[in-house]
């Protein structure tokens, strides 16, 4: 396990473990250096398995998601990246034969246990999807959706909050005169930022992003990447991406998935410059996709 500090990111981030899945639990305490210790984990995944019916898609995943950091999840198509983060808010439960076992610790509780209050869990762990998915209502109502769902507030507070969320999503200037128009009337990139506004309006702790830029153009992508950088001051972000440049640009830590296993986790700079695992290196260098 290499603990070299490569960049500023690393200075504040320190190193998190780099280990084949089976060694994770044992390897962590030995490998962690001081800086890593200081970082608070918001989500701790331990021994997570996932099944689509009888087919197992995730195998013994272990992962620490650090507070106010951006963690990128990369790997080839079908390796379980999305499947993995979809356990954090248990959104996979929409489908009957999807099952997760193991631990996803969040706020001192295992999210996967039956007693979890899903509504509260999903307020605290928001999610942005691959395809922008504005609700069939006005821009304003879209952003107000979670606020109305989770909080008591009067009209003035509500519109202040909506404005604030739109500003923090860098969308306010573009939509301030269109608040009464349907959300679907916006452009694709704007729709995605609208979804981000809708998500952060209700003040989650964690924002999960499942390939948030794969359906939008490069200019809009750049805006969203900027936004991610700005948001990490207040939120913990987990982003699944197919685009390795994007992972390198926006994330502090990177987890590399391969065929349902987490092969390697580490500071992004290290994963991209000096990966410890052969498979990671092959992927990063484009030997397979």
């Amino acid at each position: 396990m290499v603990g070299t500090t490569v960049s500023e990111t690393l200075d504040q981030g320190g190193e998190i473990l780099v280990a084949p899945p089976t060694e994770v639990a044992a390897g962590r305490s030995a490998a962690m250096d001081e800086d890593f210790d200081k970082l608070e984990s918001v989500i701790s995944v331990r021994g997570l398995d996932f099944f689509y019916g009888k087919e197992q898609a995730l195998f013994d995943n272990h992962l620490e998601i650090k507070k106010n950091r951006v963690t990128a999840v990369i790997g080839p198509s079908g390796c379980g990246k999305s499947t993995h983060i979809r356990t954090y808010n248990r959104i996979y439960e929409l489908y009957r034969d999807h099952k997760a076992t193991g631990e996803v610790m969040f706020g001192g509780r295992n999210v996967l246990s039956s007693g979890t209050d899903l509504l509260d869990l999903r307020r605290r762990i928001g999610m942005i999807f691959q395809k922008p998915s504005p609700f069939p209502m006005t821009v304003f109502d879209n952003v107000a959706y979670g606020l109305r769902q989770h909080y008591k507030m009067n009209k003035a507070e509500l519109s202040d909050r909506v404005e604030d969320a739109l500003k923090r999503s860098a969308l306010w200037e573009e939509v301030k005169h269109k608040l009464g128009e349907p959300g679907i009337a916006l452009s694709g990139g704007q729709q995605q930022r609208l979804c981000i506004a809708r998500c952060i309006a209700s003040e989650p702790d964690v924002v999960l992003m499942d390939e948030p830029c794969s359906a939008i153009d490069p200019v809009a992508t750049a805006k969203i990447e900027e936004l991610i950088n700005a948001l990490k001051a207040n939120y913990t972000i987990v982003i699944v991406t197919h685009n390795m440049q994007q992972a390198a640009r926006v994330s502090d830590y990177t987890a590399f998935f391969y065929e349902g296993y987490i092969v390697e986790v580490g500071p992004t700079t290290q994963i991209f410059s000096n990966p410890q695992e052969r498979q990671t290196e092959d992927y990063i260098t484009g030997r397979f996709s």
Binding site: P76, R96, R122, F129, P136, Y145, S202, E259, R287, F288
Partner: protein
């Protein structure tokens, strides 16, 4: 996806040299294309022509019967002139309205259940199959069934029985239409709603149904309009009546008794050897056609743009 390819073209062993590609003549394909195009055109024209002939005939023969009295007066005494089909028009409106009142909400929520909650479960599959079978039952059979189930035990024909027969036909149509339309709403939208921490019912009502609203309204109106033109289910249920509907509850002359309606009246009058009666029947047919066609077109016009999902 990940296995290293053994050769760059992925075929593994070195292939034998390929024969040169031989272009095929496009003449035959173009001829087939032209033939199919002509056939489609002729078939469409023939279909539309028959429809138009019917509508034209009905308009020609029925138009003269349409005047103010047609909508406001009772049919004349046999052999006399004047009068109208006011009672039948009112009866059809009430029968259809009550049928819609029963069937639309049931079908709507049934469809929601099938699409959102039952989905591919065993119960849902069973219900879906029953609904599909019910949609194929001839409407006369529904009429006879309601006759046996309701009219005979109660010892009289009634508008209510007619409404229930129509509701019986509407219910599976509405349920399956609702389900089909909700299935068009992408799952991403459901996930997005749930991911906001909203409970399932709120996502269903506030997001999914809202996304599908234009289709749902169109479906409901078309299901209603479809049964408004039914005759067979009313033959043994609502029967007919020469009187005005005087109220909902009560026997003769009320909705609880035999109730005048357009389709049965058209059926009866068209077979009478009196010119005025036949004229009224044509007028009734015209009103039904115009109402059904008009509502169809209106729905399409209103919701043409509503295809976001």
């Amino acid at each position: 996806m990940s296995a290293p390819a053994t050769s760059h073209n992925g075929r593994g062993l070195a292939p034998a040299p390929l024969k040169a590609l031989r272009p095929r003549s496009h003449g035959r394909r173009k001829a087939v294309d032209a033939a199919i195009r002509v056939f489609a055109w002729v078939a469409a024209t023939a279909g539309i022509a028959v429809m138009s002939l019917i509508v034209w005939e009905v308009v020609q023969r029925g138009f003269s019967a349409i005047d103010w009295a047609f909508f406001t007066e009772l049919p004349p005494v046999v052999g006399e002139d004047g009068g109208g089909l006011g009672n039948a028009i009112l009866g059809t409106l009430v029968i259809t309205f009550v049928a819609a009142l029963i069937a639309l909400p049931m079908g709507f929520f049934g469809g929601i259940w099938l699409a959102e909650f039952g989905r591919n479960g065993r119960i849902a599959t069973g219900i879906r199959m029953v609904a599909n079978v019910n949609m194929g039952i001839p409407s006369i059979v529904v009429g006879v069934f309601i006759f046996a189930a309701l009219v005979r035990p109660l010892q009289h024909y009634s508008g209510f029985a007619g409404s229930i027969a129509l509701a019986f036909i509407m219910l599976p149509v509405m349920a399956r239409t609702t389900e089909d339309i909700l299935n068009l709403v992408p799952n991403e939208l459901r996930e997005s709603g749930l991911a906001m921490g909203a409970p399932r019912w709120r996502v269903t009502l506030g997001v999914v149904i809202r996304a599908a609203r234009s289709g749902l309204i169109t479906g409901a109106v078309l299901a209603t309009v479809r049964v408004a033109g039914e005759t067979a289910p009313l033959l043994f249920t609502a029967l007919s009546s020469p009187y005005w509907l005087q109220g909902l509850f009560g026997p003769e002359g009320f909705f609880g008794g035999p109730t005048a309606n357009l389709t049965k009246t058209v059926y009866d009058f068209s077979g009478m050897p009196y010119e005025r009666m036949q004229e009224l029947a044509w007028g009734g047919a015209l009103v039904i056609i115009v109402a059904v066609l008009g509502l169809n077109v209106l729905m399409r016009l209103i919701f043409q743009r509503g295809k976001e999902w």
